[in-house]
Subunit: 221 residues, 4 copies
Amino acid sequence: MSSSNQSVASQLRKLIEDGHYPQGERLGEEAVAEQLGISRTPVRLAFRTLEQEGLLKRAGKRGFMVREFTDADVHCAVEVRGVLEGLAARRLAEHGMSSQQREEFDFWIQKGREVLDKGHLVEEDIQRWIELNWNFHELIVCSAGSGVIADAISRNNHLPFAAAASIVIDKGKLSHEYRKLQLAQLHHELIFQSLVNGEGARVEMLMREHALIGIRYSELL
Amino acid sequence: MSSSNQSVASQLRKLIEDGHYPQGERLGEEAVAEQLGISRTPVRLAFRTLEQEGLLKRAGKRGFMVREFTDADVHCAVEVRGVLEGLAARRLAEHGMSSQQREEFDFWIQKGREVLDKGHLVEEDIQRWIELNWNFHELIVCSAGSGVIADAISRNNHLPFAAAASIVIDKGKLSHEYRKLQLAQLHHELIFQSLVNGEGARVEMLMREHALIGIRYSELL
Amino acid sequence: MSSSNQSVASQLRKLIEDGHYPQGERLGEEAVAEQLGISRTPVRLAFRTLEQEGLLKRAGKRGFMVREFTDADVHCAVEVRGVLEGLAARRLAEHGMSSQQREEFDFWIQKGREVLDKGHLVEEDIQRWIELNWNFHELIVCSAGSGVIADAISRNNHLPFAAAASIVIDKGKLSHEYRKLQLAQLHHELIFQSLVNGEGARVEMLMREHALIGIRYSELL
Amino acid sequence: MSSSNQSVASQLRKLIEDGHYPQGERLGEEAVAEQLGISRTPVRLAFRTLEQEGLLKRAGKRGFMVREFTDADVHCAVEVRGVLEGLAARRLAEHGMSSQQREEFDFWIQKGREVLDKGHLVEEDIQRWIELNWNFHELIVCSAGSGVIADAISRNNHLPFAAAASIVIDKGKLSHEYRKLQLAQLHHELIFQSLVNGEGARVEMLMREHALIGIRYSELL
């Protein structure tokens, strides 16, 4: 059944992300089926799904292994997201926003201000940020007028660290994370400013730079 | 068996591209299995593969339909390729080419000159161009130092008209097509020139513009 | 009198461009005044004008010398024009053209087609091209809505080879020059296409690339 | 004498910037000469200098008036600086920094940290910032390997608000200005990071965005 297939793929994805199946590990249908307490067919289908997503690689005849990611891979996955979200944002700036889209952007920007206005982060803010951030990015991608860009982004998002939603907020260093989110919020507001003013070239570059927050800014904040 | 699964997906892709299964058509496992003279399981797997590629969409419980593409979709698919190939080319310019890569670029550029130097096209040139063009693009994508960008491009390439290899050369208008290939060749040479000189920003923009040859230049040539 | 001052500066500029006063040559007020058959005051004023334009450099107490330009200088002057014209074109794409501006672009593009449609160049075409090309570039710069960009371009245009109008068409190689103008015409049409479609990022890059025709394309055509 | 000519032009520039001669005001040689207590010839020369810089415009036969600047003019002047400094930074990234240049960048970045590390601004910090900021920008422009870009920037810098050095720091709102400088410092560090990594396209866009701090960020900070 399709929904359970999806959920097997999700379970596997989570186990890989959590390091339960570490990078480079070989996965056999039978062993995984046993661990999840299901039959082999849905596991086989899920393996194929994760192979297409780039999380598993074929190893030997029927086997798979968890793909290993170098620093260059992680960096490229983030840059791929940057150029694709940049393309979506540029198209939106060139075609103009509807007043409803404008209100929705405004809504998520206000949500961001609410998180940050008190001057520090508490633990519940992490979930609030993840949600508003996801909605802000989704809004750009969905407003660009074609599912093709959204598809390309969502396929790339399966890679570890690639998704906008994969922003890592360290609970143990909330005061340090505060400055990162302050900057991410400023990026959101500059992106909105450019969209409102129809500045396509500028918003494309801002989206690209925004994607780099997770991997290039930590050493500077 | 994996290889036959792949080949069922390929067969289906071809039948869709050729319009045998037109856009919007519903496909049933049983009917397709019968037409191809195979059992239902490989068809089911191939359906899932093509769904992930974006060529099929779920319709109803177990059914699928051939996805319909608007002009905006085609345009976006080409732009997606442009920004991704642009990213690969920029990285290559920034990191520098090896002398072997340089020789390979030179080789495919010479091949292009050989096709065009006689001043007109003959029918066999079409296949020669498709091959050299594919190799030129592959070289850029593979030289960028990570499989992640290559994966993103190859997933997008499943969409109709998106792949660099999908360049359409009209056998009935060879003298008209000559000018298009002349321009594509000039693009290749400018891209190579930028790579040699380490001009990352320039080569990124040239790759993007190059991707548009199929959809934005016909009205001008 | 102001107009004669201007004309002394023009005369000097021409004499430098023609190589009558070669790069590196020292110029004295008295000698130049004598050669032009005028008094020293207008020569002194013209020297100051050309110093600000970057054509003369101070040498010693009251003297000047013709500035020497390296290949890097020429290259930079062309790139400066490219980024400034690119900025003007981007602004125009973002703000939208009036229907009158659109007609004027169309007019100069038609003029270009008329020059090229007969399939070869005759000597009178050179002057026709210089005129239509100048008007096309002027239209972009003047349509951008502020004299500031136009001023920056016109100051840079005093440098040798920097101006769009300085395109060199070799009378002795008209059949070779034909292909260069064909390409320049295609650039003009792509720029117009981008402006019509509000593609700011694209038109900026096309203008930059267009500026390079004089210095980077000769080896490829 | 040349040096005193320069100083008359400087005096006039200052009087215009301070609003002593407001925008739109007519200036006569005689009146200005009297006010400055000098003869008319150096005033006439200074008028011509400021005309070429774009600060004065001819009005009537021998007269001049202080040029009026619209918001669009100010915006364009800042964008002109952005694209020119962006060009210089891109060239530097593409050609690579010498280890001495790298040390100098590092030096001015450390100076910036020293200003900001204590967590607030005191009045003397304004002068320290202006100096380090000017040096940072000068370093980029002078490292680009040709005086041509530097000349174009310095000519544009005569316009009000255009120069990097014209950053306005409001003594009355030092706690508010602190955040602006914090962001400017982050820009400097990101620019340095891109230069070190040879990221030409990225550093060009960062320089452009950096130029906008004075006019587009105030509403967001």
